[in-house]
Symmetry: C2
Subunit: 382 residues, 2 copies
């Protein structure tokens, strides 16, 4: 209840206040003897330094600002491992985490820096063109972006290597002899904002499919939920890839060195199962066309598999399916390319602290991409 100050500690330890301070910060050498006296006094009073006073005098708040996206729904659940890991890393270095929601836009950033609420900022869910990035760059506080914008404005970025993720998935399907790839993309909310990772993933998939000479078509927008999954399943099975309302990302331009991209509708492949079939066994199996489906949204995978099954199509037998999702969700369920939120977060925090107190080592790279891993389960045909 009643709180003690470093002055009290100093008095009890029989030293000066500055000595107490130096014991805490380690910014100058203290004889082991006085060190112990001070520590004992701190213990005795259960002393805790006043964060505000420290921030005022020392120009260090020991707080990390964390700006998180908050759509309420969407990939909200995927957010928690990030937050948790960041909180954990902060704690490891005796820092606190101040939470700011993205809906506050640049104002939140300005507050964090202007009011000296934190020493550094982690900015999540970066868009391809993100108005906050230029603001963040002028803040006078170290900022690490989780995501890669068009122009990082000199800020450090950490993210999953989505291009590699797309490559992994497409290569896997190519290696297993598929002759068509359907990329089930994101919802309108993501594609219309041109979220950077979506763009990177899509482009890379197209390029890689081109290199393999495999036609790739994009299904988009695909929202979350059972109904959307049903529609997607139908469109995959009927080869109905006509574009729908929304703002599909799919660019008309081909990647420069890329191989051919099949026009929509080319090389028709027979549907693998009649719609509405309720029994487990599909009829039109093994007709020659091998479809590989890549699902970009982790949350869409399960309902999509379900919808396909209801239509008598079993992933791993009648067609192949690879999802992009945290390993946890995929476990025992489908072949996936992992999102590695923990690795990404940890890298972001390492970078942040490196920026805060530069260590002698080699300079950190401006853009750090964390390698995804492909884990084979049972949804890709051999």
């Amino acid at each position: 209840m009643t709180s003690f100050t470093s002055k009290d500690v100093a008095r009890i330890a029989g030293v000066s206040q500055s000595t107490v301070s130096y014991v805490m910060t380690g910014k100058r050498s203290i004889s082991e003897k006085t060190r112990q006296k001070v520590l004992a006094a701190m213990e005795q009073l259960t002393y805790q330094p006043h964060a505000g006073a420290r921030a005022l005098a020392g120009r260090r708040t020991q707080v990390i600002g964390l700006v998180v996206p908050f759509d309420t729904d969407g990939k909200a659940a995927a957010l928690l491992p990030f937050i948790e890991t960041i909180a954990h890393c902060a704690r490891e270095r005796d820092h606190e985490v101040l939470l700011v929601t993205a809906d506050q836009g640049s104002a939140g950033l300005r507050r964090l820096a202007g009011r000296a609420l934190c020493d550094a900022i982690v900015l999540m869910d970066i868009l391809e063109h993100d108005e906050r990035v230029p603001v963040a760059a002028e803040l006078g506080v170290p900022v690490v972006l989780v995501g890669v914008p068009d122009d990082p404005a000199g800020l450090h970025c950490v993210d999953l290597d989505f291009e590699e993720a797309a490559r992994l998935a497409v290569d896997e399907l190519a290696a297993t002899g598929h002759d068509e790839i359907v990329l089930v993309g994101w919802g309108a909310a993501v594609t219309s904002r041109r979220t950077n990772y979506a763009v990177r993933f899509l482009r890379s998939a197209q390029r890689q499919a081109g290199l393999h000479g495999i036609p790739l078509t994009v299904l988009e927008p695909v929202e979350r939920g059972r109904e959307a999954a049903r529609q997607a399943a139908d469109r995959i099975l009927t080869h109905d890839f006509t574009s729908r309302p929304g703002h599909p990302i799919a660019p008309p331009a081909l990647p420069e060195g890329g191989g051919r991209l099949a026009p929509l509708g080319e090389q028709p492949v027979p549907a693998h199962a009649a719609l509405g079939e309720q029994s487990g066994r599909a009829s039109g199996r093994g007709t020659g066309g091998r479809i590989g489906v890549v699902v970009a949204q982790g949350t869409v995978v399960a309902p999509l598999i379900h919808a396909l099954r209801l239509r008598g199509v079993v992933p791993g037998r009648d067609l192949s399916l690879i999802g992009v999702s945290p390993d946890q969700e995929a476990e025992g369920s489908f072949t996936n390319v992992s999102e590695e939120p923990r690795d990404v977060s940890r890298r972001a925090m390492d970078t942040l602290f490196q920026l805060l107190d530069p260590a002698p080592g080699p300079a950190i790279r401006a853009i750090q991409l964390v390698a995804p891993r492909l884990t084979r389960r049972n949804t890709v045909m051999p």
Copy 2:
């Protein structure tokens, strides 16, 4: 980049520093003329008060500490609406949110208060016997608990009215003529910690079922995931309610005024469908026994419905099912009793701010329970 102080503002506005302060806090009346001068100066310099200095001098940090559970998985996703709403309420009153993870235990609480990191604390996911509660009570900082412990130690509590939730579900099943209720409970992690809401819900369901004279059995522990859902489905259909490894909450004692509780195995009801049946139509339908299933964990509902369907049992036709979950998850999918995370959070924050600056009105109640709502969809037989 370079930051201005209230002294700068004062100089430019041609007033004293204290006047600037009073303009910001509104703690004494200022003539409109000087007020405008000051505001203009602040604008011109894009002045922002230094949070640390303010905390030091004013003994107010304008920060709310938020202690969140972090099991990584579990009901993690259900957490976000809470966090989001709390962040929003804080922002409305110009407060920040400092995030602390529950794995830090009481140490986190001590830090928050001892270092004067925040003015008040929201403590989530309270256990029936929670070691943090007595600590929180001695902190010298207002604390609001989200959840109701055995002994609140004088702290204010806000939570969903889980007893009412159980009553709603049981009453609904009673009103629709069910003669047996199966309560699909929580996983070992929850029941072994005797999380308070689980206990409250369970006891209330038992009591209410007793009042209606409907036998109620508890299936527990039930973990998340497909496999667990399959097992639960099997056990429901085969009436295998023998207890399993884990620490089932189900108390041997009957509620004092309660009606009879059927012993396990009493009044056998024929299974509604043979196991392993793959076709959509169930066979043993309408045999007279009407089973009502109450699913306490929101995340279990979907996989359970799925598992039941695979066994030819359709909720709403062959048996009834009511889930406890946020409306969002239930939408278009099953009859549910809502968890109202936003209402709970808002009440918690209102209480917190009331505690921070007591308003003249009537004293706030120590325990506030938010009423759940039952929304009828299509999983309860008429």
